[in-house]
């Protein structure tokens, strides 16, 4: 204890949501997230204060960690959204915008905090139970026998991030790749519990996006000049080492070793290593891979006997390589390597991508390991593409848990909002139940309706956030889908029809519209009848969105429940 310092007393804020400064900050954050939302979202440059690299993105997973606020309430919301992203990858902006809208709307309508919490919770359970129902009109079943919906899902995610700067053809190329990679990692032959395979991503800067490709097996970057004549289609006996082959005996412990000056311990160890090498050659091993370092003499020895040597593979690639070769790594230096420890690799060849030379290893038989090579023109765009790729991968995997998707383009939000409004006004018409519900929440029916209005407005707000070019958002009064009206459209244009709705499922079906920021009489959103042969063109992940909805409401409820903020300033 060299320096004793008094701790500064904490800074306290009473009733933070009534504080104008805090509200201003919440509003700012909402506007920021809103402007990033959707395929026409605005991009953000992220740069640190010492002039580090500039990142361009509109993804919440990039922007949110870069935001720093001294306001604990904002950080609370930020971490909630980030936690959601870390589990589900998708719908982070949705969760953020919805949560902040709930807070803002509750304040604007001067709703009591405790009441807002209860009504939010009530509306949320109504939404989640509706989304789980079979007759839910905004849910689409994913059929794994056709790739159509999977392609739409992947395409929606890729186009929702404009910072990738992809043309239509490039979007199609990447989404096809993503769906192919996803299908490749599902093993089809093994019965019983299925272990999903892995996709390893390699990025190459400076090549056109259309050069991106998917390969079965693994691509491992190599710096050694690899003799092309070695490439063969035959099976190669493979051994994996997880321990260092550099001659350091780390397992002996921390004690010191004193050796006779005449005794060369290094030489003894090297002899032992060469002994091991001799065994490998005798066992006709053709590929020797080590996670750590291989002694140069041993490398030289093995190479001279026609063994392909790869060292410093790293932990990350060991597992997929083990799966690919069908073997487990070896870590003993003295014992004879049992023949079961050898694996097999097929079709060794090299691939050239820009400045990168990679060794392509393929499995003998089916192994659910594949490699995606992502190319883009510059590093910033490549980074964004990588983020989007990972997100697409995760979302496609989530469909295995729950083979559904939700209509995109804001249609789910408007539909849910109309549904909640309709359901609860039905409840209020049957006065008996309504008074019970209201009494259960300890409020009057009028207060209850106000709470519902706040919830629905916030949902509509998310749908409205999709429009950034000065246009307005509308909803038809039949199916409650979301439509965008461009800024220069006249009344006649609207009467003549607005084309397709946000998700592309409804065309011009209704002539009755309402703008999303206006009052409208509640109505029952009609489900689409089977006669429509249209397929949705924009889909969102079901699992991610349902979770985002829940997380957003819970976080808003928490923020509403905070009465006092204590900030440690030490």
């Amino acid at each position: 204890m060299s320096r004793v310092e008094k701790k500064a007393p904490s800074v306290c804020t009473d009733l933070p949501l009534n504080n104008a400064e805090v509200c201003e900050k919440l509003h700012l954050m909402k506007e920021l997230l809103k402007s990033c939302y959707g395929p026409r979202g605005r991009l953000k440059h992220v740069r640190n204060n010492i002039g580090g690299r500039v990142t361009t993105s509109s993804a919440s997973s990039v922007i949110l960690p870069a935001l720093y606020s001294s306001q604990p309430l904002l950080n609370l919301i930020k971490t909630s959204v980030l936690n959601h992203i870390s589990r589900f990858s998708d719908c982070g902006l949705f969760a953020g915008v919805f949560c902040l809208s709930l807070l803002e709307q509750a304040r604007r309508h001067e709703l009591r905090e405790s009441l807002a919490i209860k009504v939010n919770k009530h509306c949320l359970s109504l939404c989640t139970s509706y989304l789980q129902r079979d007759d839910c009109a905004c849910r689409v079943k994913i059929d794994f026998s056709s790739s159509q919906n999977l392609m739409t899902l992947a395409g929606s995610i890729i186009s929702s991030k404009p910072a990738c700067l992809l043309t239509e053809a490039e979007k199609l190329h990447i989404s096809t790749m993503a769906v192919r990679a996803f299908l490749q990692t599902i093993p089809c032959s093994s019965p019983g519990p299925v272990t999903l395979g892995q996709t390893v991503t390699v990025t190459v800067r400076g090549l056109p996006v259309l050069d991106s490709a998917m390969f079965p097996g693994l691509l491992v970057e190599t710096h050694d000049d690899f003799n092309q004549t070695d490439s063969s289609s035959e099976l190669l006996r493979t051994v994996l080492f997880s321990t260092s082959l550099a001659g350091d005996l780390a397992e002996l412990g921390d004690g010191t070793i004193e050796a006779d000056p005449n005794l060369d311990t290094d030489l003894q160890i090297l002899d032992q290593l060469l002994e091991l090498g001799k065994q490998l050659v005798e066992d006709e091993v053709r590929l020797c891979v080590c996670q750590k370092v291989i002694h140069p003499v041993l490398q030289q020895y093995l190479r001279s006997h026609g063994v392909v040597v790869m060292e410093r593979l790293g932990m990350a690639l060991m597992e997929p390589l083990g799966t690919l070769a069908g073997t487990q790594p070896v870590a003993t230096l003295h014992a004879r390597i049992p023949s079961t420890a050898y694996g097999r690799v097929k079709n060794l060849s090299t691939k050239q991508f820009g400045f990168k030379t990679m060794l392509h290893l393929q499995a003998d038989g089916e192994a659910a390991v594949c490699t995606a090579v992502l190319c883009h023109r510059n590093e910033t765009m490549l980074d964004e593409l990588k983020v989007v790729w990972r997100k697409t991968e995760d979302v496609l995997r989530l469909t295995l848990k729950e083979p559904s998707a939700l209509l995109g383009g804001g249609c789910t939000e408007t539909h849910l909002s109309a549904y909640v409004k309709h359901k609860l006004s039905l409840l209020l018409q049957g006065q008996q139940e309504a008074s019970e519900t209201a009494a259960g929440l300890r409020c009057s029916p009028a207060e209850f309706l106000l709470g519902v209005k706040v919830f629905c407005r916030s949902l509509d707000m998310v749908a409205r956030s999709l429009e950034h070019d000065g246009g307005s958002s509308a909803m038809d009064l039949n199916h409650a889908h979301h439509w965008t009206v461009s800024a220069n459209a006249s009344e006649e244009d609207m009467a003549g029809g607005l084309g397709l709705c946000g998700c592309g499922l409804v065309e011009n079906s209704s002539t009755e519209w309402t703008f999303l920021n206006t009052e409208y009489a509640e109505f029952c959103p009609a489900p689409l009848l089977g006669d429509s042969c249209r397929k949705p063109t924009v889909l969102d992940s079901f699992t991610a969105k349902v979770n985002a909805l829940q997380v957003a409401v819970e976080t808003a409820n928490l923020a509403l429940d905070v009465r006092y903020v204590i900030k440690d300033v030490n």
């Binding site: 002996l252 004690g255 002899d271 070896v330 870590a331 997380v551 819970e554 009465r563």
Partner: protein, 614 residues
């Protein structure tokens, strides 16, 4: 002479009132949460009084003493930290009012500062005397008959849930109370030792709680659940091989499987005094360690073991050999988890150098990887064995949108178990109690002790006296306890000096609690008071009747609370008030690292040490 600071009663009151103002925000049924950020930037949410107070980083030594007492109290009982501050503040307010108004007789002479200063410690001593001698009997006679005892069989039923729900109502957001209390009830049921006292299983849960829960952030709270068996918060070090064998045999290692040849400080001398023989080669030693590792693995294989749990990180060679022998290995298992595992499976861990025998092998019904949030853990479930057949081991998975929330829920559940432990604490029959009369309450569920002679306990510090109520004694919440006790306190108009009696002071302080509960509508306060008073007038209709029958009584919607916790709370508050009031001066000493006997000086009269140096 170090600089000193007078500590008049007004200032003490000011400090405690400031603490009260912070705590009040989250007190009662309408209370909200307090968000605080640590110096590390980590955000925490809490409605727990202890957490809030300790986050304040208070500077004044007196405030620190108060917070420390709150902390000690709530660690013991798990409950009542906010009420603690509230009671303390109103008690001090009462004393301050009494002393400033002063005895009517002293008006003629002028009420001197010295007399005023002497009055406060006088009250404090009287109060301590009152509660340490009479309080338990007052409660036993006047409060307990209106409550009832919850037996553990009842726990799944209405009243157990209600007790937990009312506890969670004071600690977490309202919308999640019922969900959390269901979950906790379910957990307690599964962990119930059928033959033992409920106290034993609460004690076990409380001791092993760190190993029994997993926080998962990024999911809604409604995803929280119980899962079978125990979760080991580590991933497999080897690829998990699906084991077809049933049951799964497991061995626990506390040390390295591969012997460490040289520990720190050892010196290995090679090649001195002999030629280069095979024995003098370094390779020889390294080969020896590998061979002994192989023999351990072979031994395990012959016993049919397929899972290894290790407290330490094993060597690369051990991992690779285990993998090749089709064994799964889990490394770096924490001490707490390992000890729980050993208790539940009844296995003896393998330590350094001992040979593995049958007693080291435990059987599991399954062992599988489990994905919780972003982490992959290992879930193990135990086979039926004589030891574990009594309970159905399960682990708690607590989900929340962020870390702050999961921590809050975990804290609340831990404190709930602690509260239950206090409530069900077995009755200690005090040897000093000379005569005992057992009184059956009208429903026959609660038997209570009457101790007509209490002079022998009067001089004992309260810590020595253990719980005197029947285990599991509860009373309807919402101020019932406070109303009943304040009514029961003896009420002589004033003592000989013209000062108000201490029991009156305590009664007034007690009433401030329900007043605060109903602070949003004073009408409700009066209604509640009238209802309880009318029930007292008409003893044929105590609450217990309403509760026991299926028709809910008038107060049941307010929940239940534990009588023992309340009793200990009052004791702790009065003790804290006494220690605070006996201090009159704060000495600011300059010695930087003076650490000896802080506690002794701080409570002693006229010398309080500034604690700022720690």
């Amino acid at each position: 002479m170090p600089p000193s600071e007078r500590l008049p009663l007004e200032q003490v009151l000011e400090i405690v009132s400031a603490l009260e103002a912070v705590v009040l925000r989250s007190f009662g049924p309408e209370g909200g949460q307090v968000l605080f950020t640590r110096d590390t930037g980590q955000a925490m949410l809490s409605r727990s009084g202890t957490c809030i107070l300790s986050a304040l980083h208070l500077e004044h030594p007196l405030a620190r003493v108060v917070v420390e007492s709150v902390w000690k109290h709530s660690r013991g009982t798990g409950d009542g930290s906010k009420t603690f501050i509230l009671l303390l503040a109103s008690l001090l307010r009462g004393i301050s009012k009494a002393t400033s108004r002063g005895p009517s007789a002293s008006h003629a002479y002028g009420f001197t500062e010295a007399a005023k200063a002497a009055a406060a410690p006088y009250f404090a001593n009287k109060l301590l005397e009152l509660v340490s001698s009479d309080l338990d009997d007052l409660i036993a006679v006047n409060v307990v008959p209106y409550g009832f005892c919850v037996s553990l069989e009842d726990f799944t039923t209405h009243s157990g849930r209600l007790l937990l729900a009312s506890f969670f109502h004071t600690r977490v957001s309202h919308v999640h109370c019922s969900y959390l209390s269901e979950l906790t009830c379910e957990m307690l049921n599964r962990w119930k030792y059928k033959s033992d006292l409920p106290y034993i299983s609460f004690q076990f849960l409380s001791d092993n709680f760190p190993a029994l829960h997993t926080p998962v952030s990024g999911f809604p709270v409604s995803s929280s659940r119980l899962i079978e068996g125990q979760v080991i918060h580590r991933d497999f070090a080897t690829p998990c091989l699906p084991s077809k064998q049933q049951p799964v045999k497991v061995v626990v290692f506390t040390d390295y499987m591969q012997p460490i040849l040289l520990s720190t400080g050892d010196v290995l001398k090679l090649g001195y005094g002999g030629g280069v023989t095979p024995e003098s080669s370094i390779v020889h030693f390294s080969a020896w360690t590998e061979r002994s590792l192989e023999s351990v693995i072979a031994e395990l294989q012959s016993l049919g073991v397929s899972l290894l749990l290790s407290a330490v990180k094993q060597s690369d060679a051990a991992v690779a050999l285990a993998t090749q022998a089709h064994m799964s290995l889990v490394e770096c298992v924490s001490e707490e988890e390992l000890s729980l595992f050993v208790q539940l499976s009844g296995v003896t861990p393998v330590s350094r150098g001992c040979t593995i025998q049958l007693e080291h092998v435990a059987a599991l019904s399954f062992c599988r990887p489990i994905l919780l949030g972003g982490h992959r853990y290992v879930q193990v479930a135990f086979c039926e064995s004589p030891k574990s057949s009594k309970v159905n081991p399960c682990s708690l998975v607590i989900c929340g949108p962020g870390e702050g929330q999961t921590d809050q829920y975990i804290c609340a559940i831990r404190d709930a178990v602690c509260m239950l432990m206090t409530t069900w604490e077995p009755k200690h029959t005090s040897e000093t109690t000379a005569s005992r009369g057992t009184l059956q309450s009208d429903k026959g569920t609660a038997s209570l002790d009457m101790t007509p002679t209490f002079q022998s306990t009067a001089n004992k510090p309260y810590g020595l006296k253990k719980c005197v109520f029947e285990p599991g004694c509860v009373i309807p919440a919402g101020g019932t306890f406070e109303f009943l006790l304040s009514r029961a306190l003896p009420n002589p108009s004033s003592d000989t000096n013209g000062l108000p009696s201490v029991s009156q002071l305590l009664a007034n302080a007690l009433l401030s609690v329900p007043r605060q509960i109903y602070s949003h509508s004073p009408k409700l306060f009066l209604q509640a008071q009238t209802r309880i008073m009318s029930l007292v007038q008409n003893p044929s209709n105590p609450f217990s009747l309403g509760l026991k029958e299926s028709t809910p009584g008038p107060m049941v919607d307010l929940g239940l609370e534990s009588v023992t916790c309340k009793y200990q709370l009052i004791l702790a508050v009065v003790q804290c008030a006494t220690s605070v009031l006996r201090v009159d001066t704060v000495l600011h000493t300059r010695t930087a690292l003076h650490t000896q006997s802080k506690k002794h000086t701080i409570f002693s009269r006229a010398s309080t040490e500034d604690e700022a140096e720690d």
